[in-house]
Symmetry: C2
Subunit: 300 residues, 2 copies
């Protein structure tokens, strides 16, 4: 298994990565502290460490990585392949290029042929790349390879929290049967509840209906078709509803907003073993909303 085919483009030759052969030229990339401000890995200290890193990555991803060469040069300028992932049929894709060769469209030329090749393999139904929303170069590379934006997730760096976009491409694209799921949150005062919850959670009030409203839609983004939740007017006993609000920002920020708005809470945010930091908001009618978000950076 893994990459065995040499792929070529107008300017490039992509050869299956060989840690022994490629470590020396790729050390200029993996040993460069400024190479990837959005990556997780520390720069390697020497060529031997680069070789070990390449070996470990290659073993973890099933061998699916190519070294990127600019013809006629034999030196590896970068690497592209499957990220060490969880072995589902949707595989994680990543790429890196020596800084000296940025801005020449090299990875944007390599990525389409690699993606086409991977998606033609049995057992691979899709590829996805998780890219920091500030990393416009990599988002451009993903677009050139036909990947589309599918979702957003929080991303924790050593010293800050940011967001990443999940960019995807399926081997056989198809529209999904369900486009959104909207939970109903029963409340006594839809108008006031919508304003308060939108403010505290950073949601958008997409619509209220009728006037005065018995129903309001709160959405994650201001765009048409956004996911979100409905507030619906309830009388009598309010049934308990359980739902999770997944944050792309630090839950402590929302916790502070909830306190400032006079909402109840079950206590300050707590780190959970599933790599989320959580607390619960208690609405005026007694409903509890679980709020979860990224862990705190190690260096705040």
């Amino acid at each position: 298994m893994g990459a065995t085919t040499v792929l070529t483009t107008a300017r490039l030759e992509l050869v299956p990565l060989d840690p022994d052969r490629d470590a020396e030229s790729l050390h200029a990339m993996l040993g460069d502290p400024a190479m990837d401000p959005y990556g997780w890995a520390e720069p390697t200290g020497d060529v031997a460490e680069t070789r070990e890193r390449l070996r470990a990555d290659l073993a973890g991803n099933g061998g699916w990585t190519w070294a990127v060469r600019l013809r006629p040069d034999d030196a590896a300028l970068g690497a592209i392949g499957i990220f060490s992932d969880q072995g589902r049929s949707i595989r994680g894709l990543s790429w890196h290029l020596r800084r000296s060769h940025w801005g020449r469209g090299i990875m944007g030329e390599a990525a389409p042929v690699v993606v086409e090749h991977l998606l033609a393999q049995p057992g691979i139904t899709g590829v996805e790349a998780w890219i920091d929303t500030r990393n416009l170069r990599s988002i451009g590379v993903a677009r050139r390879a036909g990947l589309q934006e599918a979702s957003r997730m929080a991303r924790v760096y050593p010293d800050h929290v940011a967001q990443q976009v999940v960019m995807v491409r399926a081997a056989e694209p198809r529209d999904s049967d369900v486009v959104a799921v909207f939970p109903d949150l029963p409340v006594r005062d839809v108008e006031a509840g919508a304003e308060q919850l939108a403010h505290v959670l950073g949601l958008h009030v997409a619509f209220r209906y009728p006037d005065p409203p018995t129903m309001a839609r709160l959405t994650v983004t201001p765009w048409a078709g956004s996911q979100g939740l409905n507030l619906v007017r309830a009388e009598g006993t309010i049934p308990p509803v359980s739902l999770t609000i997944d944050l792309g920002i630090a839950p402590d920020l929302v916790y502070e907003r909830a306190l400032a708005a006079g909402l109840g809470v079950d206590g300050p945010p707590v780190d959970q073993p599933w790599y989320r930091r959580t607390f619960a908001m208690v609405l005026p009618d007694g409903q509890q909303l679980r709020v979860q978000g990224p862990l705190r950076p190690e260096r705040g």
Copy 2:
């Protein structure tokens, strides 16, 4: 208000649309029955009708439409501007081009300058284009103008149902505070419930936890970060949960699947005054899920 500025690109001149001046050349576009297989409007019958259509569209969109010319020719080859929308600060964008000029990158050259111009206007915080997912040319135009995929929605044609992608660009892009909302659906048997509901609704089982599971996540797409819902194991009395499943496919298809799976229903799908067709599924534990989707095509 509206377009008053002439915009230019390498090959093009974009001039504020004038129905009197442009009707004759744009009739080759609006009168062409094959021009837009994904549009709603019937082709116009003559130049006078084209002129009236252009006037009405222009009045409805506040005057924000440009005629697209290929220099040095004075004839309008197409039009691009704000779709007659609901007057929010996010405006709907659309474009059309004479078929004789497709495939030359003309609209892909026009759209970026129009979008940049619109997003610089006070009172416009974003633009969005609703594009049939099969309309790859228009999706390409939207990408060239920096629009990104934000959501999917059903779209009803006279004789079939399809889906459209909402492509968007904000004047001041920012990551949203909330990335997803997951309702909890309490059930007695998480394992069986997850399989059954995933099958009937066309959802994906993203994960179960632990083994045997007390929780399962069902998602709308197979990609990381997808929205969806949680099934959670409940004992004793199961509290009623109210949620809406918004379909991108005909609700009658899901209704048939629910019957075949032995799920209860409150009756066959019914057209609602809010342009949705709905029914309710009754799960084995008594929970009711509202299922809503597009109306049926007029010609089935």
